[in-house]
Amino acid sequence: MARYGMALDYKNCINCKACEVACKEENGILLGADKHRIWVGVNDIRGQWPNLDIASSFFQPSQCQHCEDAPCEEVCPTQATFTNEHGVVLVDADKCILCTYCMTACPYDARYIDDRTMTVDKCTFCSDTRLVRGEITTACQNTCPTKVRTFGDLDDPDSEISVLLRNREHFSLKENLGTKPKLFYLT
């Protein structure tokens, strides 16, 4: 079974937010600025004009990290949050009771409340839209102008993402919390 992850060549990112819009369009996310599954974080620049610190200004796309050791999954009382056979952390809206315990447990601010079902929602790696149609790309990856994202099977040694992760240094966010995220930022 494929185990999905994503590598991000984040230095390519120009903060255009095409990925944010593509995600909303593909998955029918509600409009509203706080209703987003993915986002591009902007590190505010340091320094004073004209001596600004270029290196301190960078863009970091982020979303649910589909952690191997997901704290959200650990705290969900009804197992509404679960990991499927592809390593994708999903929310079963039928079982979600909106206790929002997962929202306080997630270190990445990945979750928000979907007003239509009044359940918690987050990035699903396009599981019920693109993946289920057999397209092994996510909406955010597909649309990116500078091709920041590479989505693929981590268990396949020949997949592009595996090759990338073997050959390039990378880090993940908040690794010290032991969540074992599956989003890798290539340096």
């Binding site: 060549d9 369009e25 029918g28 270029i54 649309t143 500078t146 091709k147 693929g152």
Partner: protein, 829 residues
């Protein structure tokens, strides 16, 4: 059915919306005017989720900006649920920016124009009455009690076709509209050129022979002056450049008064004073000349008039130290850039840029940039500036009759023509696109050589796109007949007499177009769904309009056009040969008229459907397979099936490396002389410096207590066109004015405080964004907000309008609008 639509009802959109074509199952709840709004004030349900059931995919080209990226639209149950990138187009390289994805919201915008309307209130009030297409055409021709019709105007102006102005924004169907303009016979054409890239395209045009592209995929050293490619996305430059900066193959030097996202991605940012780039380039030129770093061989073989320029640069002492005082940059930086550029030449690019003129020195700046590029020898070569190849297309015949009564373009020549001075009062050269600002101002000041009384506007928003919007409003009010063709009720539409709703790009097939470049191709926009409501593509609008007006206008022509009268008179006489034999019999007047009418028949360019026209243009050269490829894939180029293949999950090969068109002219410019025209004598005759020279008036001056206003782009918006797009507004709710943090602190301004920005011509209000990304003597805010059209629910009075404040300063060569020459005041309100 005639239904009086009050403006309020128009806003609410509760008129019966007939969705033509496709059983739009969930389209009705896409118009959420009755739905509860989320707390951001945006209706909840204008996003569509893709499904797993049956779907059709149609290849189209995006129209959310000018790039025309190839997209594949996914249609389920008659509803467009997703726009995916079409990987087969070499220019866009398998991507769609945020606006490309948001095309769905543009299609299903509740505020979009749905049916033709005619004005029943006062001009600018926005009170319209819904009418049928037939009634709208009739109103254009014959007018109503509120406005004069075309027939009357032409009758009174004795068939002076130039009494009508035609203006348009850029688009694939602009050509179709222009055919109407050409057939109509007016000489007054204005497009976005003079408020966009006039100076840069013309400057490179006269210097290198054509406006080139930059090979950012292979360049080792790139200087981008003001071109904010990370936010003002241009394909494929944006795709290529930012994968290679920061030590990954290319070094990018960003020259910009403010710290843009491009600066963030660059390797070095030089904070230059606004409008002083020319001094920088002259200093670079000085360094490479005096230190003999330039490609002497290339210059010897390929430059015309270099010696005069070289002499000037050295004698005027355009040293980096001199430039440092004017630009605010360090002299050491200027030396470094000059030396590094030449070290990497010819794989160095001084990026030409594209957008609006910054300052009055812009033409000379771009010339200096083109010359500097030539000094490195990086012209028509891999890694430098390239012209690329253009795949030919067949021609589509139009009609361009000559009207004897039609006056020449309405420009104002100087009364006493002096040699070495500009021949026109407003500028030195008048190009095809004209000079919008000066034309408008002359119209308002009654300095027109004849009466211009009506105008047609297509895909163009003068109220928002030019400086000094107060004057633009006056112009629109003064025009007796304003016909707008648009998809949204923009500010300009509010001033119209007749509003014709165009179908959005997803609802029409547009003329096939060839895209020149290193990897050339032909692409076509295919209709995804049938036009909604009563909208029509412009080709059908033109068809209907010309069918209505062609004959009546012909009658007017016959009445006043002496050439036509003469020809008819001739034709009714028999043609007698030398020996008194009849070569051709006489014709009746009716016959003669019918024959001559064929030249004046306005309906001829629109007799075929767009699909038929496209097929004709392509088949003749590339055959049936190309027609099929364009229909199915939206893209075609020769050997596409051989060359196109995926090379990774994200990237594709379009042409093998050895088949790419880096060099098409032997490494030489495309001027007639095949040389870089360094010194241009004909410019001198018109009062323009024959080679770039610095003038004191170009210096950056800001009075104490005032600020220089800059405008620009964010990747999430296309000028004012996307102001009402619901999903894009989530990304940027409104525009904020960038004020230097220290200045803001001094003035007690905090984030989010309401600020009034004012100049001599007007003021606007928007919120404050204190940041160090802008200098203490400068402020910035993004263009396209602050609409006054109440019909745009979310754009109405949202943010500030830069053109309410920017003065109508024009540069002297083409009369292009200099957008960065206005000093303003700010205060907290």
């Amino acid at each position: 059915m005639q239904v009086e639509v009050s403006r309020r009802r128009f806003l609410q959109g509760t008129i019966a919306m007939s969705i033509v074509g496709g059983s739009a199952v969930s389209a009705t709840n896409l118009f959420a005017s009755s739905e509860k709004e989320s707390h951001s004030g945006v209706p909840k349900s204008i996003t569509t989720k893709t499904g797993t059931g049956e779907a059709t995919e149609v290849a189209t080209l995006c129209e959310m900006c000018v790039n025309k990226c190839a997209a594949v639209a996914r249609v389920e149950n008659g509803v467009v649920t997703k726009l995916n990138p079409n990987p087969m187009f070499p220019k866009s390289k398998n991507m769609l920016c945020p606006r490309g994805n948001a095309g769905i919201q543009a299609l299903y915008d509740p505020d979009r124009l749905k049916f033709p309307m005619i004005r029943i209130g006062e001009k600018g009030e926005g009170r319209f009455k819904r009418v049928s297409w037939e009634e709208a055409y009739d109103a254009i021709l014959n007018g109503t009690d509120k406005f004069t019709g075309m027939a009357k105007i032409l009758e009174e102006e004795e068939d002076n076709r130039s009494s009508f102005l035609f203006c348009a924004g850029e688009g694939m169907a602009e050509h179709t509209y222009k055919q109407f303009f050409l057939a109509f016979g007016s000489a007054n054409w204005l497009n976005h050129g003079s408020i966009c890239l006039q100076t840069v395209s013309s400057a490179y045009g006269v210097t290198l022979g054509a406006y080139p592209q930059a090979d950012l995929d292979n360049a080792e050293y790139i200087i981008m002056g003001g071109a904010n490619r990370a936010e003002a996305i241009v394909t494929p430059d944006t795709m290529d450049a930012f994968k290679r900066t920061k030590g990954r193959g290319a070094k990018l030097i960003c020259i910009d008064p403010r710290f843009t996202n491009t600066a963030s991605k660059s390797d070095k940012w030089l904070a230059i004073n606004p409008g002083t780039d020319l001094a920088f380039v002259l200093a670079l030129t000085y360094v490479v000349i005096t230190e003999e770093l330039y490609n002497k061989k290339y210059v010897e073989e390929n430059f015309n008039g270099f010696e005069a320029y070289k002499k000037s640069v050295i004698e005027e002492k355009y040293t980096p130290e001199w430039a440092s005082k004017i630009t605010g940059l360090k002299a050491s930086d200027i030396y470094e850039v000059a030396r590094e550029f030449m070290a990497h030449a010819p794989r160095s690019v001084y990026y030409p840029g594209r957008r609006s003129t910054f300052s009055n020195s812009d033409f000379q700046l771009r010339r200096a940039m083109a010359i500097f590029q030539g000094l490195g020898g990086g012209i028509d070569i891999k890694g430098g500036l390239v012209f690329g190849k253009k795949l030919k297309l067949g021609k589509h015949a139009g009609v361009e009759p000559l009207y004897a009564q039609a006056e020449a373009r309405a420009v104002e020549k100087v009364k006493k023509r002096e040699k070495g001075k500009a021949p026109y009062t407003d500028c030195a050269i008048v190009t095809g696109g004209g000079s919008w600002l000066t034309w408008r101002n002359r119209f308002l000041e009654n300095r027109m050589p004849y009466k211009v009384r009506g105008m047609f506007v297509y895909k163009h928003n003068p109220m928002m796109n030019m400086p000094n919007s107060k004057k633009t409003a006056q112009m629109l009010k003064k025009m007796e007949l304003v016909v707008t063709i648009d998809t949204m009720p923009s500010d300009t539409v509010m001033y119209a007499d007749v509003v014709l709703p165009e179908a959005t790009y997803l609802e029409r097939t547009d003329p096939v177009k060839t895209f020149a470049g290193v990897e050339p191709s032909i692409a076509q926009r295919n209709k995804v769904i049938d036009p909604m409501f009563e909208t029509k593509p412009v080709i059908e609008i033109m068809k209907g309009l010309t069918e209505k007006i062609s004959k009546p206008l012909w009658e007017i022509t016959k009445k006043f056009d002496e050439d036509v009268q003469e020809e008819l008179a001739e034709a009714t006489k028999a043609k007698i040969g030398e020996n008194n034999e009849t070569i051709a019999p006489s014709k009746t007047l009716a016959q003669a008229e019918a024959e001559l009418y064929k030249e004046f028949d306005l309906t001829i360019p629109f007799k075929h459907t767009q699909e038929e026209v496209n097929e004709h243009m392509v088949k003749s050269i590339y055959g049936e397979e190309a027609v099929k490829a364009l229909k199915e894939h939206g893209v075609f180029y020769p050997d596409m099936d051989k060359y196109y293949k995926p090379i990774s999950v994200n990237m594709h090969q379009y042409y093998p490396e050895n088949k790419k068109y880096y060099t098409v002219n032997g490494g030489k410019p495309k001027t007639r002389s095949k040389k870089v025209e360094c010194t241009i004598g004909s410019l001198a005759k018109k009062g323009i410096d024959p080679f770039p020279k610095w003038k004191d008036e170009y210096e950056f001056k800001v009075e104490e207590g005032k600020f220089r206003l800059l405008t620009g782009r964010h990747a999430q918006f296309t000028q004012s066109g996307t102001a009402n797009n619901a999903v894009l507004r989530d990304l940027i709710m409104e525009n904020y004015v960038w004020i230097n943090r220290r200045v803001a602190k001094e003035k007690g301004i905090k984030f989010g405080d309401m600020i009034e920005v004012s100049s001599e011509i007007g003021s606007t209000r928007l919120k404050a964004y204190p940041t160090e990304k802008v200098a203490p003597h400068t402020i910035f805010f993004v263009h396209g907000f602050g609409e006054e059209s109440e019909a745009l629910t979310w754009a109405y009075k949202n943010g500030g309008n830069d053109n309410a404040v920017i003065k109508d300063v024009t540069e002297p060569v083409y009369g292009a609008a200099s957008m960065h020459e206005t000093n303003v005041e700010i205060r907290k309100v």
